[in-house]
């Protein structure tokens, strides 16, 4: 019996908490207090647990714990952000637009983590940029542009994970030289092309993924 599944309301709740976090971080990160980098990791992990289709018994407990942490540490209002009230079910049902990109990102970052036993900072940063754009898309504000930018950040985070693995494993004359050069050529051809399609980008992801699979598996 799937009694612990997450509803769209829970996802709205997560993004309400994230709105507060973003408000906190946008100000505090520019002060000497700084921000707690582990919180970035936790929020990414809570997000993936929430949106996974698997039935996990403590999903709601995790969301409640995050809510407690929000109330205790970052329930602030430094900025006049008018986002929380605009989060709506009608917008959040569009979340499936980003499904493929999100799944690819978590595949890449899990491989990186598995092989380095640490998270790639740039991957985590890209993920948070993704969440910020997704949050605004969920309010309906510049929806299409924000979805596009959200997906772009995930794309960058995904290929950063793969590139870092390749960089650490391949000498200049490694056996993947030809494949690496071909992907680089493709990337250069797409550079600055506004209309580079998500499909074309994910062809590049697929190519990097194939090399990484050969390197580490």
């Amino acid at each position: 019996m799937k009694t612990n599944q997450v509803s769209y309301d829970d996802i709205i709740e997560f993004f309400k908490i994230y709105t507060n976090y973003l408000d906190y971080v946008l100000y505090v990160s520019l002060t000497k207090k700084g921000i707690n980098e582990k919180t970035h990791i936790y929020l990414m992990k809570v997000f993936v647990i929430l949106i996974s289709k698997e039935n996990i018994s403590n999903k709601k407990i995790i969301l409640n714990k995050l809510k407690q942490i929000q109330n205790k540490y970052f329930n602030v209002k430094y900025l006049n952000l008018d986002l929380q009230d605009k989060l709506s079910y009608e917008e959040i049902v569009n979340i499936y637009q980003i499904q493929n990109s999100v799944e690819e990102f978590f595949y890449a970052i899990s491989i990186f983590k598995k092989h380095n036993n640490k998270y790639l900072k740039q991957g985590i940063i890209e993920f948070h940029n993704f969440l910020a754009h997704l949050l605004v898309a969920f309010t309906g504000q510049n929806r299409d542009t924000n979805y596009k930018k959200a997906i772009n950040h995930l794309y960058r985070g995904t290929i950063d994970c793969y590139k870092s693995i390749i960089k650490n494993k391949c000498d200049i004359d490694c056996k993947f030289q030809e494949e690496i050069i071909k992907i680089r050529e493709q990337e250069m051809k797409n550079l600055g092309v506004e209309a580079t399609s998500t499909q074309a980008k994910y062809q590049i992801v697929k190519s990097y993924k194939n090399i990484v699979k050969k390197i580490i598996m």
């Binding site: 707690n36 980098e37 919180t39 289709k53 995790i62 380095n116 900072k121 991957g123 985590i124 950063d160």
Partner: protein, 70 residues
């Protein structure tokens, strides 16, 4: 608009045990190619609550992996 259930994402092939963390693994390394941002250094005032959250997440990732493989 009638509310539908959120089906969730599948995450085919993702080994979620990668996200089970202890103090050492819950950290970041540089090494990206396109460094564009920064995350400030860790400051540890939130430790106790965050450790509780980490425990809950570790349990969830274990369960998630078991459910995916069964």
């Amino acid at each position: 608009m009638q509310k539908e259930n959120f089906e969730g994402f599948e995450f085919k092939g993702v080994d979620f045990s990668a996200f089970i963390d202890d103090k050492e693994s819950l950290s970041m390394i540089d090494g990206g190619i396109t460094q564009t941002g920064s995350v400030s250094n860790f400051n540890d005032e939130w430790n106790e609550d965050m450790e509780e959250l980490n425990e809950l997440l570790n349990e969830a990732f274990k369960e998630l992996n078991e459910n995916k493989s069964s």
